[in-house]
C-alpha cells in the first residue's frame, strides 16, 4: 500500500546501474518539499548515492515527466526520475 506521503522514484541508464535498482517507493520525510531536499536526503545514504548526487555532478531530474529544477516542489504521488544527461539520436 502506498503511504500518505509516498513518491515513486525512478533511476535510469548509468544511474540505475550505480544505484543497483531501477526505482523505489520513497516516503517523503516532513522536511522534504523540493527536488533539492529530496536529492540531499538521497545523497545522505552515502556510497554511490553521495558520489553520483554530489554538487557539480551531471545528472537531471524530472517530476511527473517534466524536467525539474532544484526548487521544483515534490508532493505525494509524484513520479520523480533521476538520470544522466541524454544521449539519444
Amino acid at each position: 500500500m502506498q503511504g500518505p506521503r509516498t513518491v515513486q522514484l525512478v533511476y535510469l541508464a548509468r544511474l540505475r546501474e550505480s544505484f543497483g535498482t531501477s526505482g523505489e517507493r520513497y516516503e517523503l520525510g516532513g522536511q522534504i518539499h523540493t527536488v533539492a531536499d529530496l536529492l540531499h536526503a538521497l545523497a545522505g545514504r552515502g556510497g554511490a548515492w553521495s558520489i553520483e548526487l554530489a554538487p557539480g555532478r551531471a545528472f537531471r531530474v524530472a517530476v511527473n515527466h517534466e524536467v525539474a529544477s532544484p526548487d521544483t516542489r515534490v508532493a505525494p504521488g509524484d513520479e520523480i526520475a533521476v538520470f544522466p544527461p541524454v544521449t539519444g539520436g
Partner: protein
C-alpha cells in the same frame, strides 16, 4: 504529427510515402536518418544499446514536434526512434518533415533532430572489446540545440 519508439527497424520509403499520402499540398519532404557507427571515440563498437524513459520520452518528442510546427509552416512530421540492442550500420532514428517548400522542411527537420539530441530522454551504452561504457553527452550537441533558441531547459 507522429512519434514512435520501437524495437523494430523501419522502412524509410514506406514511412515517407505514408507521411505525404493524400496531401497534394506537399512539395518537399526532408529526412534525417541516424545510424550506428562501428567506431566511437577511437574504440570499436560491437553493440549499441538504447534505453528510454517510457512515458516521458514520448511526451518530450511530441513537445519538440509541436514546437517545430509552431515555428515553421510544415504540414506533417514523423519521428521514429529505436530502442534495444543495435549493431553497426543499423538505423537508429528517422525524422521526416513535409512542407510546401524545402526551406521549411530542412529547417524543421534539423531543429527536431537537434532538440531530440539534447531534450529527449534516451541513453546509449556501447559494448566494446574493452568492455561496456555509457556514452557521454556532447557539448557540441548542446551548441547545436542552442542555435535555435536562448530559452528552455535542456535535459
Amino acid at each position: 504529427m507522429t512519434v514512435r519508439i520501437q524495437h523494430e527497424d523501419f522502412d524509410i520509403a514506406r514511412e515517407t510515402a505514408a507521411l505525404r499520402a493524400g496531401d497534394p499540398r506537399v512539395g518537399a519532404v526532408a529526412l534525417f536518418v541516424g545510424t550506428v557507427r562501428d567506431v566511437n571515440d577511437a574504440r570499436a563498437v560491437t553493440t549499441l544499446s538504447l534505453e528510454h524513459y517510457p512515458g516521458m520520452t514520448e511526451k518530450a518528442l511530441a513537445a519538440i514536434v509541436d514546437e517545430a510546427k509552431s515555428r515553421w509552416d510544415i504540414y506533417d512530421a514523423l519521428v521514429i526512434h529505436r530502442v534495444g540492442d543495435l549493431a553497426p550500420m543499423d538505423q537508429i532514428v528517422l525524422v521526416a518533415v513535409t512542407s510546401a517548400h524545402r526551406g521549411e522542411a530542412f529547417a524543421a527537420c534539423e531543429f527536431i533532430m537537434d532538440y531530440l539530441k539534447t531534450r529527449a530522454p534516451f541513453w546509449k551504452k556501447e559494448q566494446t572489446p574493452e568492455g561496456p561504457r555509457w556514452v557521454d553527452a556532447r557539448s557540441t550537441d548542446d551548441d547545436a540545440a542552442q542555435r535555435w533558441s536562448t530559452t528552455g531547459a535542456k535535459v
